[in-house]
Amino acid sequence: MSPEYSASLRRKIDEVAARYPKKRAALLPVLHLVQREVGWIAPDEERFVAQVLGLKPIKVREVVTFYTMFLRRPLGKYHLQVCSNLTCSLLGAGPLLNYLQQKLGVGVGETTADGRFTLSTVECLGACEQAPCLMVNFDYHGELDRDKVDRILESLE
């Protein structure tokens, strides 16, 4: 049984697709919309998007697997993305990552048992002046130290 997608999602998809001369060009925006609604892109979502945009599902999967922000499995409520690139490394991203692993009891790529946090490393977030940086879902946090990390985690329910 294929899943139902909300009318508002379908409407947003139609609006987005209308801005491009070729439907396929709406693939990334549409995948973002679907991921925001469903949480992650499973084969059902790939089929749905393929059908909406007139593509073969494999062409959707080619794109989903190329870009790091498209999730192929469900993550915790808060995706903690620690920048592991140069400036952040210079300013202590390594120890901070270790601290998070220790504090949450998970390794990189893993989710806490209560489903709240998934810990990942990412490449340069473009906020090097605030290094070391962390992106929680879409929110940037910089100038981190252990205390600030503690406060951020506490604020996330």
């Binding site: 060009a25 210079l90 090097c128």
Partner: protein, 416 residues
């Protein structure tokens, strides 16, 4: 000479709102261009201003616009490159967050000059806040008649759409950006043909960086000569330098082209943090070959850095202190390019992964003396042989680190 251009109003609250922007003279240049100048005149002004691309490659913007054929019966497109993925770079984020309408105004003038009626602003996926701010500005611009049909009664139409990426450094490369915009994997294309003739949807396309376009309103308002005086004869205008790393005041600094690198680090950015000593500087984003501490007395412009064996790139200055192990730097650099390689061409796909594995083995303490030579050999096999510039972007920094810090890297490595 020290007057800010791009960042002049950055302290102003609400600058991102159209009423505030207009109160500061915003959209007057667009009006001037659309109503008092021909497209050819606009193009000519930008050419004479010697505005070089601010994304990294430094190609003259006016020349690039001039490559677009006007007699081809196909739509033309403008793609704004807001993918800002070059490690160390964050200036475009600042520009859009503080002054999105400046970018839009530059977009409108550029589109007018080249006869483009559809613009896409490709924002990297991680910059959600930036994309939202930009979408807000676009909505305001439509509302007030600066986008859409018959802008300001000039008869010129322009549609603009904000398009989010989804995580891929390679999509900052102009042809990979086009592929990504077309809904495909971010695979760079073979050149020739160049995007000016065969670009988005196989139509003539201009791709410009955010900072490049943000300069356009000032060029139109104040003229090419004024712009050149702000910089250098063949390199007009200011640059926004992004300084990060082990400095006291990391951030953006808008300065004339040709400003000395030592001045940028020690005067503007407040010098070394916590009293640490300088070991190395990456002057133009991670893809720029590294400079030793004794090499930083040079003017920051395209030609001077090229002569020094590096590049101005995205003007992102990363300051490395002497307590940082160069092996760790090399590991981060190698891992980044391997991670971001699109995988299309042999040398980059396999070479960056191989180098990364060697460096990881070195970091685990299982290195041998000939490993550095191996890395140099592999990087030399990538350099100049790949389908797109990412190959060189990986090879050149890695080569520079191995060559300039060879002693430290070889250190205690046993002979093979």
């Amino acid at each position: 000479m020290d007057e800010k251009v791009l960042t002049q109003h950055f302290g102003l609250e609400g600058l991102y709102r159209i009423e505030v922007y207009r109160k500061k003279g915003g959209y007057k240049s667009a009006e001037k261009a659309l109503k008092q100048m021909t497209p050819a005149a606009v193009l000519d002004e930008v050419k004479r201003a010697s505005l070089r691309g601010r994304g990294g490659a430094g190609f003259p913007a006016g020349v690039k616009w001039g490559f677009v054929p006007q007699n081809v019966p196909k739509p033309r497109y403008l793609c704004v490159n807001a993918d800002e993925g070059e490690p160390g770079t964050f200036k475009d984020r600042y520009l859009i967050n503080h002054n999105p309408h400046l970018l839009l105004e530059g977009t409108i003038i550029a589109s007018y000059a080249v006869g483009i009626h559809t613009a896409f602003i490709y924002v990297r996926g991680e910059y959600e806040a930036v994309a939202l701010r930009l979408e807000g500005a676009v909505a305001e611009a439509y509302e007030k008649g600066y986008l859409g049909k018959n802008i300001l009664g000039s008869g010129f139409d322009l549609d603009a759409t904000v398009h989010r990426g989804a995580g891929g450094y390679i999509c900052g490369e102009e042809t990979a950006l086009l592929e990504s915009l077309e809904g495909k994997r971010g695979y760079p294309r073979l050149k020739p043909p160049f995007p000016a003739s065969v670009g988005l949807f196989q139509c003539p396309t201009v791709i410009n960086n955010v900072e490049t376009l943000s300069n356009i309103p000032f060029i139109i308002q104040n003229g090419a000569e004024w712009f050149i005086k702000k910089g250098l004869p063949k390199d007009g205008g200011t640059r926004i330098f992004g300084v990060s790393g082990m400095v006291n005041k990391p951030g953006i600094y808008e300065l004339p082209l040709g400003t000395n690198l030592r001045t940028i680090i020690f005067d503007h950015a407040g010098g070394m943090k916590d009293g640490k000593k300088l070991k190395a500087v990456i002057p133009g984003g991670m893809s720029a070959p590294i400079l030793r501490a004794d090499e930083i007395d040079l003017p920051m412009d395209f030609d001077s850095l090229a002569s020094a064996g590096s590049m101005l790139g995205s003007a992102a200055v990363i300051v490395i202190d002497s307590e940082t192990s160069i092996l760790d730097v090399l590991k981060t650099v190698a891992k980044f390019y391997s991670h971001e390689s699109c995988g299309q061409c042999t040398p980059c796909r396999i070479g960056t992964a191989w180098i990364s594995k060697i460096v990881e083995r070195l970091a685990r303490g299982k290195g041998e003396r000939d490993d550095i030579d191996a890395i140099i050999r592999l990087a030399s096999n990538i350099k100049g042989k790949t389908l797109c510039p990412l190959g060189d972007a990986a090879a050149l920094p890695i080569l520079s680190i191995c060559q300039k810090f060879r002693q430290e890297l070889e250190g205690d490595l046993p002979r093979a």
